[in-house]
Symmetry: C2
Subunit: 574 residues, 2 copies
Amino acid sequence: MRSKIVVIGGVAAGPKAACRLKRLKPEWEVTVIDQDSLISYGGCGIPYYVCGDVSDEKELRSTSFHMVRDEKFFASAKGVTVLTRTRALGIDRQEKTVHVRNLETEEENRIPYDKLLLATGAQPVDLPIRGIDLDGVFSIANLHKAIEIKKRIARGQVGKAVVVGGGAIGIEMAEAFTDLWGVETTLVEYMPQLLPKIVDWQFAAMLKTHLEEKNVRVITGEAAIEIIGEESGKVTGVKTGSREIPADIVIMAVGVRPRSELALEAGLHVAPWGGIRVNNRLQTSDPDIYAAGDCIATTHLVTGKETFAPFGSLANREGRIAADNIAGDVSLFPGVVGSYIMKAFDRCIASTGISFETAVAEGFDADYSLTAPADRAHFFPGEAIAVYQLVFDRSTRKVLGLQGFGMMNDSISARIDTAAALIAKGATIEDFMAVEMAYSPPFSAAIDSINAAAYVADNLCAGLLRKVDMDRFLSWMDDFESEPDWMALDIRHPQEAKDYVKKFGPDRWMAIPYNEMRDRYQEVPENRTMIILCDAGTRSFEVQVLLDHVARKNSMVLSGGFNVIRRIGVDWLP
Amino acid sequence: MRSKIVVIGGVAAGPKAACRLKRLKPEWEVTVIDQDSLISYGGCGIPYYVCGDVSDEKELRSTSFHMVRDEKFFASAKGVTVLTRTRALGIDRQEKTVHVRNLETEEENRIPYDKLLLATGAQPVDLPIRGIDLDGVFSIANLHKAIEIKKRIARGQVGKAVVVGGGAIGIEMAEAFTDLWGVETTLVEYMPQLLPKIVDWQFAAMLKTHLEEKNVRVITGEAAIEIIGEESGKVTGVKTGSREIPADIVIMAVGVRPRSELALEAGLHVAPWGGIRVNNRLQTSDPDIYAAGDCIATTHLVTGKETFAPFGSLANREGRIAADNIAGDVSLFPGVVGSYIMKAFDRCIASTGISFETAVAEGFDADYSLTAPADRAHFFPGEAIAVYQLVFDRSTRKVLGLQGFGMMNDSISARIDTAAALIAKGATIEDFMAVEMAYSPPFSAAIDSINAAAYVADNLCAGLLRKVDMDRFLSWMDDFESEPDWMALDIRHPQEAKDYVKKFGPDRWMAIPYNEMRDRYQEVPENRTMIILCDAGTRSFEVQVLLDHVARKNSMVLSGGFNVIRRIGVDWLP
């Protein structure tokens, strides 16, 4: 049987599925339609094209062996027919045809299918504010926009940029503008932090500090309420509730939503937020229609709830799975753990599973361990501090998520990927204590960061370690009267602690070095709550155990310690 | 109850257990004894100390906050008594005492214990050959030896070095000599490959090629049969079966063995090869005696068999687990998957689980996928090719191991660690296809290497892909008559293929570019077995599917393709 397969969408999931299908069923007729002229490109590479790391947009739509993936390539190399500049207008599920229009000739047509795959992707959310149609306002919707943005910068037309939206694309675009082109860039995010819902506030704060170090102005907790421009129609700035920010270019990056109008009109089940609902075989509510990529609703494996996971990597995986099922094999896509990683200048930030904030909101018995270990043997050249937060459920001891922040290399990646593999399997703190990270000084510490994070979680569950939350500690630093009985116990080297004692006074800041504690614990006042402070929190834990043992049980450890404080950026360091 | 705990061995597992015990049971008396004066050091860092990356040996035995971990530190900071230069002579299990001798004073003593931990580590294997006592022959047994080696090099006494043993320590020492000091170095390994039993031959060959590029002379398949020297007792060289290699210094690195004499003499169960047998709680056959670290026999989680896993990372994990159990908690160490990673100049080589060779020897229905993907998005600056081999069982579809070779960064580490987490859970090819690697162009390709390796395995199991082994292909390249009906089908760009056609003749080497195959497949002879060749094997697979479809089913794909061939190093490239 020579089945006819139609794929709507030619960026990631669509081409992947089409090519896989032709390998499984070489005799089948596979047609991909896309309204754009440029297809099969690495959309996630757009910021790197804009910044100049990728010099030609063709590289984003080329294979690793340097062939451009255009219609001709798909026909000759893959045996797949691609119709570009062809818009799908509707699906007739009874007739099993797709109604299409050629955008060049305006000719309309009906393409019959035996099985149909919707790979319609996602599109940028449009903010319902005035001025978004002004000349110089862009969303990162496709390669054409990227090409136009880069042209303007290269022509020297962009001195100032505003990026609206503090998610990955917004941050990457801000980096692209600032780093290579020296464009004066402001990033505006209406939520109180960058990467909202993706990482917890400490991680967003560390990221923000780094962006600021790199000359990106970051404004959080402020909404863009209008894009302003000249009468000529050219953009001149962005208005927020509290200010006007001048701009020659404005990037709108406030998120994406599934492109599911076709599915909805065809009467397929679509989530209220727009995701096309599919089963584990990526079949929609019509068994002859599959969906894959950014347009679908999938399941979050930690919360068990419906979620939106628009990533190029998942789109590729889903494309393969859809193809297998269309070809008659059984292949499952049970859901996602939500792995996330991005470069921001010289840093890497990543997460998998859910954040602490989400875990609390979801009703877990949530807790977290915040650690700041060395990313490889501390004596190895190039070693640097990374920060990790392991989120877990105290009752079940299940690990719910891991976040990491560190240098721009693959070290965070290694821990996040390992965690993702474990979390997808329902792993507990014990599994994270036991996971066998390949060890050698150039690659990891003898006690790997991921094991160490689990040890801290284990100590927290056992009640051996009692911590104070960083936000509570920082509030106290802003107003000592908020917790009048607290006192900092700084156990770092006396040289590190002395300026603090001087600045905050011996009634608020006490310094006893870690290694002298066994001899000097009697100096610790019994009627105060001691907040034990060191660089990472590790020594503080040991001191807490010691103080507990000598019946001074009123102490809390500041997990992550000064390594986190310094990265978050505070104004009270002496 | 104030229990007395004695720990024999002060390098990794011992100190870790002692410190953990004092945190769990601050009131207990914990004593560590060690015959050496230097303790608690990062033994794995020794090569980096010798090469100068680590400038002072003290860094190897310092904390991350720069305190030297000596007896004083353990006493004041940890509350642990450490007796250095104290040798354990015997254990009296009835009396529950350890018989010790102070090596400074020669005084003997009996130290009582309630629970005893053996953390006696491993020691270098001595080759039973003449000359190993000559001046200038060293094993990497401890820090003292390392200090002495570095002194000699720094004094300019070392122009030529021979390293006997092609395991991690040998290779790292060869790098240390060559890289910083420019010492003319020869590495001698008596097995036919480097890293025997750890990686398969292709990976060893890629490593060897890189070492040679870096001016290390590598001799495999040749045993050192004598160390030769002057009458004065100074070493002058190493004799193998076929040559004499001059040397001012000789490093013996032919492996390590568990230091278990004490355990054996005390009547504890010890494996014939020397590993102290323990249960999952790290208890020896005497319930009051535990063992942890390099001296124990543990279980390989893939083979289920007893194994030896002398790694600093495991020693630390085991130390913590032993302490938990000694303190009365239940904490398990079920075994290892055998994760392994090392830096070799500008490359990284790593493995987890078992190699293909081992899998065959163990009776698995073993097969492997050999892939050569980009280590991040192919358009991202700094992208490089990595090589992976996924070993699996065709019947159960269980993944048995993964090996990786690539640039010296953490990218291989990420995939190996993720694989280790999965393999420890008994994961199948499906789990590897599904594992959610965090994606962004600076960190990975949209189809991650680990997913891609699993896809190839899946295609192999499905019979969709038929491969030829690299060694069989290389034999044919050496002697075309070994497979008279074979013919290479080179589907790379014509510019890449043309010199090959010219060199090997159109009867042996045919070139049809990948993207022209659909139009030109009739040129492929029907009576020959076609060996399809490209850079990575990916395009070759597509061509094989196409040829199968047009009833030219006599083809095999060279997995890994020229990316692997070039890294292995062959002499026939045009």
